[in-house]
């Protein structure tokens, strides 16, 4: 089983890295692009002994305690059975 965790900045939190990427992408001629926000993506490989709901619960805890800082970030968890 594999968990995918997407960590993104909350709306309203400044993302200077996303802005810099946006500038470069526009320089390359790609348009129209309204905004680019940078985030983080994690793959967590789990032992098959957990049920999907157990895995989801655990990975949400990991995301909340470690992977994301809830002051500025939010996360989304997806569980994939391989």
């Amino acid at each position: 089983m594999k968990a995918k965790v997407f960590v993104t900045l909350k709306q309203g939190v400044l993302d200077p890295q996303g802005k810099a990427i946006h500038t470069v992408v526009e320089l390359l001629g790609f348009e129209p692009i309204r905004d680019i926000r940078q985030g983080k993506f994690f793959e967590i490989y789990l032992d098959g002994t957990l049920s999907v709901s157990e895995a989801e619960e655990m990975v949400k805890k990991i995301a909340n305690e470690v992977l994301a800082n809830p002051v500025i970030e939010e996360y989304k968890v997806e569980i994939e059975t391989l």
Partner: protein, 236 residues
Amino acid sequence: MKYGVIVFPGSNCDHDAYHVISKLVGQPVDFIWHKETDLSKYDAVILPGGFSYGDYLRAGALARFSPVMKSVRKFAEEGRFVLGICNGFQILCEAGLLPGVLIRNKNLHFICKHVKIRVETNNTPFTSDIEPGKVLSIPIAHAEGNYFCDNELLKELEANDQIVFRYCDDDGRITEEANPNGSISNIAGICNSSRNVLGMMPHPERACEEILGSTDGRDIFRSLTNSIEKRLKDGR
């Protein structure tokens, strides 16, 4: 009295802090490896600057889980003094010992230069001997020093007098031009609501000797040392 300087893997201002406490402040000080858990003999601990755990994930995000941090939390709850400088400030925020978070500098640059900060309050053990409004010249050296919190928390910090330092110009004016990193409300340092935990991005330990360009950092270490003495005298 005894100071401790906590050493995380990747700390790199630990020796500077140790040097200032031992040679200039003239007080006993130990290095404390991050796997230690007994802080009982210390009156104040410093979380120094650097790049703990290589700044992986987010600055301070992994160091907050070092074994010593549980003890630092207890230490703070006991009313003893915790000073986080630069990466130490980031760790204290990640650990929830201070509110808010430090994000990427607005202009993305790693900024390393002397800046002016205004002392906003002397109602902390770290600034008790400094006249409020005094402008200090202290260097910063960081890429993630942009203090961020929501408006509600900002109001709370202001109402509780928890904003200890603000970036300012030479005359002590709080202006946008004087804000090096985009910090909300020009915040350079804050304390917790109990006032015994301080986090600041500028490096006072790098501003304690003439040859380094400023001795203003001494004001902070002098205040802290006097506060420890007072606390010991009060038998706490």
